[in-house]
Subunit: 370 residues, 3 copies
């Protein structure tokens, strides 16, 4: 069960080159991204309406896509405009097109009702274009439901255990963090403060603190259905960070986008923008060092959520127990559940009103037995 | 759904050596091919009636097959003739035997009712034993339904797109080819002429033409349920090929046999007999060069039909649209569908008349719980 | 369908080090073995009650297990005794614990009703601690139902065919062996004598016989549901072995424990204790030579039972035929079937009497939708 009427991250902008194409399954639907001659990113159904070959096996011709099997040509709206060897193009010859917006170096796609695709609803992430920050990014294929990735991010007490060899190290401090969970305007917000705490090795490496302990924060913003932004950082202890003075500190702005591939697999995109002190390193070297280290950290999460998925699959429906630190993820899951229910209700209503037209549909659309 | 009462190619003759055996799943049934001492090819059910070990794990003893688990011995009819350690052979101890005919270097097998297995129905392919021709062959395991392979071969407009880097190159010429589709005596025939057209690189390499353009033909013969023979060739343009004069030209006789392994996997056998000019090359060198080049071409087809199968599986039953060039494959699919319907009807009638005897069947046949 | 109220071998004792842990699926249930500080072996459900991460991803802390995701701590009974970051531990927070007994270098686990776990029911195997014997051992993952492994062991006529290149070699002698199958006190016993027979190469290598032929025995003891002990050996022919004089001979005591992982996969543990003559070899060298050679033999069995499983899966329910040498395995299967039936009946009776309490169960136990 997915939320369809929402913007999902479909790809990093640089995954699709001008005149290039990229096939990817999103929410169980095959999608092909491509760019026209002027660089505009588009997305069509990745399944030729003729004999179902994925269009990503074809090629871009000007602003159009040509199927690699028998050469049908589709325009940017998914309408078939040419069938080689015949004059007439069959009226039903088209594939679905998806609204796509390129923003903040990401390709955003709307998998639901196109009329509802309002670009103003896209989560803004200005840190990808802010000179005060540098950023790194990656993409993983995760063998778990996307909500398990969200869960992971919404409960950062896991950092002390899962990442004890990397960014964790002080489980007690993480568990004892002063944590507040609230519904935000757009989703769920969890704010955690670890005042006067020993900074983890990764912090010490990234910034020169003047005090042995730091005031450290984690602000987690969940944007349903599948985005979690985590702002973490620290200043010298006692310099007023909690009251708003974060001067002289360090900060990391993590963006996590867990786009469902299928019910049990996820495209996990993330970026990390930061203000780390490069020390003697060039910014490029700092970034590649940070990427290497975070790759280890994310691999730790991947192991956990994939083991969790297998475990849940093995004993489906067996009871689980909630604890206090689940507040954030429970809110997040509830929001998503409500969105799914609302969509189901809306689509049922729409179906009823369409019954008449469906009854007229040409059954000759399905000529083959496969 | 398969047609059972038909001759399928089960193996190349040289895949089964004298006294050797070969296990292979055909139409979901496990089959073991073997040869007796005089070289006769036989096929039995590849599943010992004792404890189900495939007989292909055993060995040939004279003209008989011995199971590799507890040594039951089967004769050429599949009758168990020896149970080591006991005198009596249980009456039900037998495996199914399949009619097999060796012809034109192929082993043909009849998977249906043995009484209907008329060798005269086997598609003849004399080009495998004709001194004017040399030939090459291979076998692929394809992860798609066999009918997708047939489809591919029945609509050669795909050559211009799928094989543009190998035997294709002029998609427009392929799409514009003058094409006639007819029901033939034995199946479906598609004849295509590309008059006065630029020959593809592979043709130029294989033959010395005296004119820059050629008259080029493709004759596709579908023999249901799963064989497609394709006769292609070309002569100098304007020398009367279409009227019957193919002197001084070149020809390729391709035989394609797509035997179902399961509903979604296929043993794809093919051979290519040709009259290419060896130039400075020996016939053997020419053949191995041609085999290498066609291996690339067939790999292109394999990618396409396997992607198609995955795509069809993902959105089962979603509509597809027919185009003009589908005429050949639509006829072919219809013929196969009718054969399957007829068999189902016949077997239902037979079942009714057998009900009495079935009611008497010894239920002690199934002693184990597995 | 498994027998639950029985002792299964869960692991070799040395697979679980002090303070170490081992995750393993047994009878479809995830189990984690670990050892406390004093070395006691324990087993808990390998699925955290919080968010289902296998506890085998966590770590041992003193005598307790800590989950590697959010740090819940479980005591040796599976009771959660700590939830980091909160005072109260939820009442339902616990995982199942399994009775474990360490005996004869093996960890025995009881997967059923703990109250019935009587250690006196464990099959004793003193040969693992007898100075007159040395022994070797191993473990395989087998892709077949555990009963197919039992079948294999209960009918040793297979030795002549499956192992003809290793320990077999004289199929006729095996089939003609004088075989007696009886119900023993604890299970099924098959006794086979091959009097005055040519010893196989492995016997000749392991022992110096004074006669060209030997009197050779095989005593197979089945302990339901999943253990087979096989005592084999030989003495010089005509020296009275059958009457009880086994002086001057050689003997091998094989223990086979086929613990179900799932319905169709098996943890196959085995050990071989023997009195072979080391000749010029040290005992350690003899053992490693023997292990290497038996590894080849067991691989032959693995190929057979896995091929059998695939074959049975392909044509589920197709008839099989019994032969005389099946007596042992048929008895064994019948015993297991009766045990499963009895458990089902007992658990149905128990369920009825528990209905009232189940009706009161707190449905808030399942807070997440996964
Ligand atoms: S499948 Fe795309 S053109 Fe035929
Ligand atoms: S399985 Fe073939 S003889 Fe037993
Ligand atoms: S999953 Fe074990 S503590 Fe959360």
């Amino acid at each position: 069960m997915f939320v369809y009427n929402a913007w999902y991250m479909g790809a990093w902008a640089d995954e699709v080159k001008t005149q290039g194409l990229l096939g990817r399954v999103l929410l169980n639907q095959p999608v092909v991204f491509y760019r026209t001659e002027d660089g505009t990113a588009l997305a069509l159904e990745d399944r030729c309406c003729h004999r179902a070959l994925p269009l990503s096996h074809g090629c871009v011709v000007g602003d159009q896509l040509q199927c690699g099997y028998h050469g049908l040509v589709y325009d940017r709206n998914g309408l078939c405009v040419k069938v080689p060897g015949q004059e007439r193009v069959p009226a039903q010859a088209r594939v679905r097109s998806y609204p796509v917006v390129e923003k903040d170096h990401m390709l955003w796609i709307w998998m639901g009702e196109p009329a509802l695709a309002n670009p103003a609803l896209i989560v803004a992430h200005p840190w990808h274009d802010d000179d005060a920050w540098v950023w790194i990014k990656d993409r993983y294929s995760i063998k778990s439901a996307y909500q398990l990735v969200t869960d992971n991010l919404m409960d950062l007490t896991h950092v002390g255990y899962v990442h004890q060899r990397t960014i964790g190290g002080t489980p007690q401090a993480h568990s004892d963090a002063d944590t507040q969970t609230t519904r935000s305007e757009t989703g769920v917000k969890v704010i955690r403060w670890m005042m006067d705490s020993v900074p983890p090795p990764s912090y010490v490496a990234a910034h020169k603190f003047n005090t042995p302990t730091v005031d450290r924060w984690m602000e987690i913003d969940f944007f349903p259905p599948a985005i979690v932004r985590i702002h973490t950082g620290a200043t010298d202890a006692g310099t007023g960070a909690r009251e708003g003075n974060r001067e002289g500190g360090m900060a990391f702005m993590g963006l996590n986008l867990q786009t469902p591939e299928t019910e049990t697999t996820t495209h996990y995109f993330w970026s990390g923008a930061h203000t780390y002190d490069a020390g003697g390193l060039s910014k490029a070297d700092l970034c590649s060092k940070l990427l290497a280290s975070l790759t280890v950290t994310f691999a730790e999460d991947k192991v956990v959520v994939e083991a969790q998925q297998q475990s849940l699959d093995r004993l489906e429906g067996a009871p689980l127990v909630m604890i206090a630190s689940d507040a954030g993820l429970a809110h997040a899951r509830r929001m998503v559940a409500v969105m799914i229910e609302n969509e189901a209700a809306a689509s049922k209503a729409a179906l009823n009103s369409e019954e008449l037209s469906l009854a007229k549909r040409d059954s000759k659309d399905v000529p083959y037995e496969n």
